[in-house]
């Protein structure tokens, strides 16, 4: 399953529709569909926020007997390694908490594999969950 999305938060409804359709096709329960959907939202919104001048964003979903993979492609983007440790202090007190990096921290924690590549201005991100 593959779709192309405009660089806009309003596209999130279509992104969620794709994830719902993929989850249904692959018969994924909430223990897989929830973290995958969340990871895709975090990565998609990052692309929207930090590369406002770019073009369309492609999302490709593939499933197999042992794993499911989502690939996000941003074809006109500067390098930004989303897999780097964001150094989020999850034990900080309430008044010390800052929201920066929280989304990518959650992706790192929830995915079984998290890959980033950047070449010729194309950002290629792959996330994997094992069944």
């Amino acid at each position: 399953m593959q779709q192309t999305f405009g660089r806009d938060f309003a596209e999130l409804t279509r992104v969620f529709n794709l994830m719902d359709a993929f989850s249904a096709q692959q018969e994924l329960g909430p223990s897989l569909s929830f973290p995958l959907t969340m990871a895709v939202e975090e990565l998609f919104t990052n692309m929207v926020k930090y590369n406002a001048e770019g073009g369309a964003i492609e999302i490709e979903c593939t499933g197999g007997p042992e794993r499911v993979q989502i690939r996000l492609l941003d074809r006109d983007s500067a390098p930004f390694d989303v897999t780097e440790d964001r150094q989020v202090d999850t034990s900080a007190s309430l008044h010390e908490r800052t929201p920066g990096g929280l989304g990518l921290h959650l992706v790192q924690k929830m995915m079984d594999e998290f890959h980033y590549d950047h070449k010729d201005r194309v950002t290629d991100i792959r996330i994997v969950k094992y069944r």
């Binding site: 919104t45 900080a92 989304g103 921290h105």
Partner: protein, 94 residues
Amino acid sequence: MLEISKADESTVLLKGRMDASQADAAHEVMDALTGTCTVDFAGLEYISSAGLKVLLATQQRLWESGGEIVLQGMTPHVRMVFDLAGFDSVFKIS
């Protein structure tokens, strides 16, 4: 879609998905809360970091004036997100 309603003056009910496209609407409601309030998650199917950030900002604001938000009724998957974010140490979750 996120539906936000009030059961009474100090209890907010969340239903649906608290994602980046709904964060502004959620922020508007949370900004109006004062004192100590309960946020009921029983109808909330999904939350992302955008929703967590709204709740964190609300908790920090209320805490400064001696109040807080207490969270209840989370599904296991929403609770897992709170735990991974370390939010279980900055919110009362019942």
